[in-house]
């Protein structure tokens, strides 16, 4: 049997066993009543001890959401979601919504994060790395359970805390920026999130400060039939710099779970935000049973002159991904970047890409997207590059490559280009290729197993993007890519 054919056969045999984050933490939860109503919104707001203005903000979003319909333009297919059959709030029992020290955290939760390879102990560091420390905010279902290195960060003036805490402790910042990038009316899922978001991270880096360490948030969905609606807001004030990473996992469950997050980034004059994602939600089994629906709105606003926002994502999980991290290049001379690796296997469906919206003069953007499809998956890149008529000299470079493994998967590229100024220069390159049997044979003739050969070729394919990740995460991501494709090569 030719090598690639065999590869395909093995893809078909992909098994959920490969998802090693699929365990369930046995912990009692506080749940809101099933379904969504104004009362649910009030319940969440009350649980979070929120001020009145926040509740009003949520209710407005909720009422608007009731008038909206779910978008259906993405190249994904799933049965209708019953929004009344979900829990909108789940918190491990005993967690107060207020901040707590690590000593207060339920040991069962600490073990969960330890199992996931995420240290919630301040002295520790991520695997294989020396001298670099990473501050972690851990979000379990609807609440943040721990945030490390808070004190040290606050010495530098950096605020890094759960957003529920920021709403209470830093209302002036939250009021000013929340919803300023992704308004409550933005889209169906973002509006839903605005009504019921439970937790997420808040970061503020003051003027001229270079954040002294990597910040990261690990999201974990544990509870059954629960939506996770995280909300993250990151603000880099003038001349500030911050690098932030989020990681996501969930248990294996037969039911689909909804994850509708909103992430807003604001970069003021000369500020830079680097946002990296390693998304490894449970993808469902080989037949497409279970898995996370990942409907996410991520947008960065380069509000200031010469500001820069860079998105890097490694997307390996989720049954369905609907996600377009975008940059609004408002400030003159600002720059947006999007680096993406999207891997789909089994029955996964990915519709992901970016939007680069050039509003200011001399703004530049760069898009490097690498899609890898295996099994019976469908992988779509959807990207918009637009230049407003005042965006003189807007520049974009897009490179969009797809790699197919086997014969039953699909790769699609849907670019939208709109230039309203004649001075704009957009470049678009796209390729679609297959791992050829000849390449496989060449590698195997040198002694590499089929599995090693595919991993080597794929890692070569995604190299440009992996290089954009902070070093320690690049190593993790590389491993994750191999694991994700394990099914495709036995």
């Amino acid at each position: 049997m030719p090598a690639v054919q065999e590869t395909v056969a093995r893809v078909r045999a992909i098994d959920v066993d490969q998802y090693k984050y699929g365990f369930v933490t046995d912990i009692e939860s506080d749940l809101a009543e099933k379904g969504l109503s104004e009362d649910t919104v009030r319940f969440i707001s009350m649980k979070k001890c929120e001020p009145e203005w926040m509740l009003e903000w949520r209710l407005e979003a909720y009422r608007r959401w009731r008038t909206m319909t779910e978008p259906n333009w993405a190249r994904v297919d799933y049965p209708p979601i019953d929004y009344e059959d979900l829990y909108y709030y789940a918190a491990p029992k005993g967690t107060k919504s207020g901040p707590q020290t690590l000593a207060d955290v339920d040991p069962e939760l600490l073990r969960t994060y330890e199992k996931l390879g995420i240290p919630l102990v301040e002295q520790e560091i991520l695997a294989g790395v020396e001298q670099r420390r990473v501050a972690v905010d851990a979000v379990f279902d609807s609440v943040s359970v721990a945030t490390t290195f808070k004190e040290e960060l606050s010495k530098a003036g950096v605020i890094f805390c759960p957003i529920s805490e920021a709403i209470r402790e830093h209302p002036e910042l939250v009021k000013k920026y929340l919803g300023s990038v992704v308004p409550t009316s933005d889209n169906f899922f973002a509006t839903l999130n605005s009504a019921v978001f439970s937790d997420g991270s808040f970061v503020y880096v003051p003027k001229g400060v270079r954040c002294p360490m990597e910040l990261s948030t690990y999201f974990r969905i544990n509870e059954k039939n629960t939506g996770q609606f995280e909300r993250t807001l990151i603000i880099a004030d003038e001349g500030a710099y911050v690098s932030y990473l989020e990681g996501c996992t969930a248990p294996m469950r037969d039911e689909n779970q909804l994850h509708a997050a909103v992430v807003e980034l604001v970069a003021l004059d000369d500020a830079e935000i680097k946002y990296s994602t390693v998304q490894n939600w449970y993808p469902g089994d080989a037949e497409g049973k279970g898995g996370i629906y990942n409907f996410v709105t991520k947008r960065g606003d380069c509000r200031g002159k010469n500001s820069k926002i860079s998105w890097t994502q490694v997307e390996t999980g989720s049954a369905i991904t609907w996600k377009y991290p975008s940059c609004v290049l408002r400030g003159d001379g600002s720059r947006g970047e999007f680096y993406s690796i999207a891997i789909s296997n089994g029955r996964q469906q990915v519709d992901s890409g970016t939007k680069m919206i050039h509003l200011g003069k001399n703004t530049t953007s760069k898009i490097i997207s690498k899609g890898i499809s295996a099994g019976k998956s469908q992988n779509t890149y959807r990207g918009l590059v637009s230049a407003h008529r005042k965006a003189t000299n807007a520049r974009n470079f897009t490179n969009c490559d797809s790699l197919l493994i086997g014969h039953d998967c699909g790769a699609h590229t849907v670019p939208y280009l709109e230039a309203k100024t004649s001075t704009a220069v957009f470049e678009h390159e796209a390729t679609t290729s297959k791992i050829s049997e000849d390449q496989m044979f060449y590698c195997q003739q040198r002694g590499l197993s089929e599995e090693e050969a595919v991993a080597l070729i794929v890692n070569g394919f995604v190299k440009d993007v992996l290089q954009q990740l902070p070093m320690e995460f690049a190593v993790e991501a590389q491993k994750l890519i191999s694991i994700s494709l394990e099914g495709s090569v036995g």
């Binding site: 390449q439 044979f441 060449y442 002694g447 080597l456 070569g460 394919f461």
Partner: protein, 249 residues
């Protein structure tokens, strides 16, 4: 070391090898010459285990072990190396990375320890220098943008690094100018050893001026039709393959 008996192989049901016999002893260099379409490259692919080729009859053993029962990577690990006529490009994978992955895969499979990076680097530099391969070339994507000569030198570098028992060279001289041919041939000659066999497949005699064979075979219609000493190559050069080609038709 290599023993092929009555080998028949087809691609897409089209028979290419039709009863080929060949015995190569350790330390020997065998040249296989023949007209286009005689099945020379097919022989190299069948030996190396390329998918798509179906062996319909006969046997091939390396040091007594049945090659045909093994996957391509297992044959490589047993010490069979094929220098490709058209080496493949793998974008984004640095040549150095590829070499290291291959060497360590073979070492692991043989139950040896992986070579630590500093020792590996030293080894590669040593072998690469002799072949005029620059550090820059080692950093570039495997065979990506390499000239014909660079690709062939890179094949010989891999051969030198992996130290196979049996080397099969498929038209290694194609696309080489005379200088490159010299470098490549010297690289191959440096690897000649008592415990190593070579099968050198070529259309032209000129390669055999540089890599001197012990035995020359003429292949036509998927089998060996004549065997002789080095003088046979000269005879072919003078008279051409017309006699065999006509026969093959």
């Amino acid at each position: 070391m290599l023993s092929i008996k009555n080998l028949h192989a087809s691609i897409e049901d089209k028979p290419i090898l039709r009863g080929l016999d060949l015995e190569v002893k350790a330390g020997e260099v065998h040249a296989i010459m023949g007209p286009n379409g005689s099945g020379k490259s097919t022989l190299s692919y069948v030996l190396a285990g390329k998918p798509d080729y179906e062996v319909t009859d006969g046997s091939a053993t390396l040091e007594g072990e049945d090659l045909l029962a093994l996957e391509a990577d297992e044959r490589a690990i047993r010490g069979l190396f094929l220098a490709f006529q058209y080496p493949l490009e793998i974008p984004g994978v640095a040549t150095m990375t590829f070499l290291k992955t291959a060497l360590n895969a073979q070492r692991r499979a043989r139950g040896e320890d992986e070579l630590p990076t500093p020792a590996f680097m030293k080894l590669v530099r040593e072998k690469a220098d002799g072949l005029g391969i620059s550090t820059d070339m080692l950093k570039r994507g495997l065979n990506v943008g390499f000239s014909g000569g660079e690709k062939k030198r890179n094949e010989v570098l891999q051969m030198a690094l992996l130290e196979p028992k049996l080397c099969v060279l498929d038209e290694t001289d194609s696309g080489l100018d005379i200088d490159a041919l010299k470098i490549v041939s010297e690289g191959v000659n440096a690897l000649r050893a008592k415990n190593r066999g070579f099968v050198v497949i070529t259309h032209y005699q000129r390669l055999l001026d540089h890599i001197r064979p012990d035995i020359v075979h003429v292949m036509a219609k998927g089998r060996i039709v004549r065997t002789g000493g080095p003088e046979l190559a000269h005879e072919l050069e003078a008279q051409g393959y017309a006699a065999y080609a006509a026969d093959a038709a």
